[in-house]
Amino acid sequence: MFERFSREARGAVIEAQLVARATHTRAIDSRHVLVAIAESDGGPARSALTEAGVDVVQLSRSLRADLAGASGLDATALAAIGIDLDEVRRATDATFGDGSFDGVAGRSQRGGKHIPFTPDAKKALELGLREAVRLGASGIDSGHLLLGILRGGSPAAKALQSALAEAGSDDSALRDAVARGSHAA
C-alpha cells in the first residue's frame, strides 16, 4: 500500500512516529497522523484543513496534550498520593543521566525502538486508500489520509470534527475541500 503514497503522505506517516516519541506514547494511532498532517508545511490535507477554517495550530496543540496525557504518567494524579513526579525525574536523571527518565519511556516497551501502529491507525490508512479510489486519484495523498481519519470514528476523527465545528464548518465541507484539491492535483 505504501508504494501508492505520495511523498508528503509518506512524510506524514514518518512524522507520526516522531510525534509518538515526543509524546512518549507506545503506539501510533490516527491522532499521531493527524498531528503530523496539521503540522506539515503544506500539501493537500493542510490546505483542505485551512480552507475548511480549522485552526491547525490549536488542533495539533490539543492533540499533543491529549497524547502526552495518554502516556499515563499523570503528574497531578501522582501528586494527589504524595509523589512528586519532578522530584522522581530529578533523582532518576541524577543516577542514570540527564533525560534518562523520559528517554526510557520508548525503551520500556516490547520490541525496542519500533513503535507499532494501532488497528485504528491502520484502518485510517486503509480508508484513506478507499477515499483515493473514490476520488479517482492515482495515488494516496495527505488529503485522502485526512478523509480516512475523518471516517474512522476514532478519537482523532472526533478531535477533527470538533475542530471543524469550532470553525463553524463540518465533515462535508472538509470532504469538498479535499475533493477540490484532489482534482486540481
Binding site: G72, A77, A80, L85, T92, F101, R107, S108
Partner: protein
C-alpha cells in the same frame, strides 16, 4: 485563586478517575524505573538470576521481558 485550586485538588482526590489515573501512573513509573535499573544491573555484570531474585520474579520472567533488548 490559590484556595480555589486547593479545593479543586481535594475534591478530585476521592474521585475514582483521579485514583485510577494515579494507579496507572504508578505502573508507568514502575516500568520506567525497572527498565533503567535492569539495564544498569546488566551493564554492571549482574546475572539474570540475581536481577530476578531482587525483583522477586522468576529468571524466565525477567529474561522474557528484557532479554531481547538488553
Amino acid at each position: 485563586m490559590a484556595s480555589e485550586q486547593t479545593l479543586v485538588a481535594s475534591a478530585a482526590s476521592d474521585d475514582p478517575q483521579q485514583g485510577l489515573r494515579a494507579v496507572r501512573a504508578l505502573r508507568e513509573l514502575a516500568d520506567r524505573l525497572e527498565t533503567l535499573q535492569v539495564e544498569r544491573a546488566r551493564s554492571l555484570g549482574w546475572s539474570w538470576e540475581r536481577i530476578a531474585d531482587a525483583l522477586g520474579v522468576s529468571k524466565q520472567a525477567v529474561h522474557k521481558k528484557f532479554g531481547r533488548r538488553i
